[in-house]
């Protein structure tokens, strides 16, 4: 069984937005960690969840599949998902897969939060 090598941390920034810091590997094994972090971030009815990928070491196609699953859930709950801290490589993968059309990418955490608070 694949060992999860991911650590997530949830920060509530305002009534409207929470940030999920993601460290390590986003692959099939990250499902539980990522989903429970997302649920925690959504618990206070946050309108926006910002995924902070600054600590991301590796993401594979299973990880992309997880993000899609997470997006489906967010859409159902009427939430926005944003991303920040992506390396050029993974930003390019977001663009190739057109994930960037559903998960808006911001250069900095501050920009993401400003966008969330303006919602």
């Amino acid at each position: 069984m694949l060992q999860a090598k991911v650590i997530t941390n949830v920060r509530k920034m305002s009534d409207k937005a929470s940030i999920v810091d993601i460290h390590g590997e986003v692959n099939a094994a990250a499902e539980n960690s990522l989903m429970s972090a997302f649920n925690q971030a959504s618990a206070s009815h946050a309108r926006a969840v910002v995924l902070n990928f600054r600590g991301l070491e590796y993401m594979n196609s299973s990880g992309i599949g997880l993000l899609v699953t997470l997006l489906i859930r967010a859409n159902r709950q009427g939430q926005k998902v944003m991303a920040t801290g992506l390396s050029d490589h993974y930003r390019q993968i977001f663009e190739l897969t057109r994930l960037n059309e559903a998960i808006h990418i911001y250069d900095t955490e501050a920009q993401a939060l400003a966008a969330a608070n303006a919602m």
Binding site: Y58, S61, L66, I72, N75, S87, H89, R98
Partner: protein
């Protein structure tokens, strides 16, 4: 069951020894019951019809029939016989000798006997059915085991890798039918860089065909080393094979020798399907006459020659393709194959194109009737720019290859990270820009995951092979699985909207990503393996982001 009935009856009438024994006579074709000596009643014996009308116990002396079974009963000293009938079928007879008291059987006795028979018959029937099922199961298991052996022989003897010839692209596809026919192909590496190519088909199926295939392959390999002319090789193979081959079996076989320097292809044919040679303007048949191997000794084989110009290719195949049927029982046929070869204009490889057409022709529920073997030999088009990615197997056109690394990994989730590490170390002197290295790493990780999950079905004992080759201008990474699983599909752009709407699985990004990460991606099928070949151009300002 017999013993049970006998003992039961004996206890009823107080016999301690069966003094003529009560015996059950099964009707023929029922599974025989152990181990009591018993007579069989022929299905057409008048006694069978007799008992369909007469129910209950009967004194043998009163049966007035011209019946071998009745004669046998009388000879055995049987006095009374009770038919065991279940659902209108006579299963057997419960036979009794004279009573020890020498009195006739009373009506009470007969009532008891009839009662016993009415209960014993269905029980016996059930026992027979169970036994029959067991025998059928054993037979099926034996058959499965035999098929496994046949498949193993064949897969062991098919080439493990494809020839890498500068300026040429060789591909092969082989898929055994469930019953495993006798298809085979082989590549022989001859002096002066020439390539020998064999495609053949043994009549018959299963282990016998596999063994003849193994023998033929060995004979051809040795004859090809000894003789230079394809006709002479087949002649020798025929003479050696003929005395040993089982009756009614023979081998159709085509043997060709390619000189990759000048494109000269010399060939001879022992009754095998005629290859098609495709040029830009037409499709030619490469005909040469000759009898199949093993039919009769002293045959000679016509030898012909063709020159393959740049851009031309040859398709070798077996009749599993042309004799495939669609649900309306129409055959794929030679003319249709020829039309398809004419119609093929690049894009997917010819093999992929033909397989897609075959799948469409046969429909989804096709039970493959015979082995399907396809081998193509293609001469690279010299007029083509080296960066044209529509041309598969770009890598092998380069001349000077060195192996940077070669390793295998068990198919365990997470091992794609090891592949990334190894590949990063192996390419560190090539000077890939960091962004391109990241792309290569992602492509290698995805290809490895694909091989572990789909090719090897996550079975750790099945390795994923990774080979890195580099020339002056190109880096090739080949990721090979053991191919038990599904074939590698064509990559297509996943539909994010459909996924978000829950209409598609959120997964399925792997191949799409790989294709976008590298400059070229090739799928190579070879016997029991699939290989993904990832190509990165080296030097210059190549940048795969042009693919965005």
């Amino acid at each position: 069951m017999t013993t049970l009935i006998r003992n039961f009856w004996q206890s009823l009438i107080g016999q301690s020894k069966p003094a003529p024994q009560a015996t059950v006579m099964p009707v023929v074709q029922r599974p025989r019951l152990p181990p009591k000596p018993s007579h069989e009643i022929a299905p057409n014996d008048p006694l069978v019809a007799y008992f369909q009308n007469a129910r209950g116990s009967v004194e043998v002396d009163r049966i007035n029939l011209d019946s071998p079974a009745v004669r046998a009963l009388k000879a055995a000293g049987v006095r009374m016989t009770v038919p065991l009938v279940s659902q209108g079928d006579l299963l057997g007879l419960l036979n009794l000798g004279p009573r020890l008291s020498e009195q006739d059987y009373s009506s009470d006795d007969r009532g008891l006997l009839n009662n016993l028979a009415s209960q014993a018959a269905p029980a016996l029937r059930v026992a027979q059915l169970v036994r029959q099922q067991q025998l059928e199961l054993q037979a099926r298991e034996r058959l499965e085991q035999e098929l496994r052996v046949a498949r193993l022989i064949q897969q062991t003897l098919l080439p493990k890798e494809l020839p890498s010839l500068p300026g040429w692209h060789v591909s092969a596809y082989y898929r055994p039918a469930r019953a495993v026919g006798g298809d085979f192909y082989d590549f022989l590496y001859l002096p002066d860089g020439r390539l020998g190519l064999v495609v053949g088909d043994v009549t018959d199926k299963g282990v016998p065909a596999a063994l003849v295939m193994a023998t033929t392959r060995a004979i051809l390999r040795s004859a090809a080393q000894r003789w230079d002319a394809p006709g002479r090789v087949l002649e020798q193979a025929n003479d050696l094979l003929h005395p040993d081959i089982p009756p009614k079996m023979f081998v159709t076989c085509l043997y060709a020798i390619l000189d990759p320097q000048n494109g000269r292809l010399r060939y001879a044919n022992a009754g095998h399907d005629v290859p098609y040679c495709r040029s830009s303007s037409e499709v030619k048949e490469l005909r040469a006459t000759g009898m199949p191997l093993g039919l009769m000794p002293g045959m000679s084989y016509e030898e012909k020659e063709a020159i393959l110009a740049p851009g031309e290719s040859v398709l070798f195949y077996s009749d599993g393709l042309v004799e495939a049927h669609n649900p309306q029982r129409a055959m794929f046929s030679f003319p249709y194959l020829r039309t398809l070869v004419e119609r093929h204009t690049g894009g997917a490889t010819l093999i992929d194109f033909l397989l897609a057409e075959l799948a469409e022709f046969t429909g989804a529920n096709w039970e493959q009737e015979d082995d399907v073997t396809l081998v193509t030999l293609q001469r690279a088009d010299t007029g083509q720019a080296a960066t044209d990615s529509s041309q598969p197997g770009h890598a092998i056109r380069d001349k000077e290859w060195r192996t940077l690394a070669e390793f295998t990994l068990p198919s365990e989730a997470g091992n794609e990270r090891l592949a990334m590490k190894e590949v990063t170390a192996a390419v560190q002197d090539l000077g890939l820009p960091p962004a391109r290295l990241e792309r290569l790493k992602t492509a290698v990780a995805e290809a490895t995951m694909n091989a572990m999950e789909h090719g090897n079905q996550n079975r750790p004992e099945l390795p994923v092979g990774i080979q890195l080759l580099a020339s002056e201008t190109v880096l090739a990474v080949r990721v090979t699985d053991q191919g038990g699983g599904q074939p590698i599909p064509d990559p297509h752009a996943p539909d994010l909207e459909a996924k978000l709407a829950g209409l598609q699985s959120p997964r399925g990004w792997g191949l799409f990503l790989i294709e976008k990460m590298v400059d070229e991606m090739h799928v190579i099928r070879d016997g029991g393996h699939h290989t993904l070949e990832l190509i990165m151009y080296l030097g210059g300002d190549n940048n795969a982001s042009a693919k965005l």
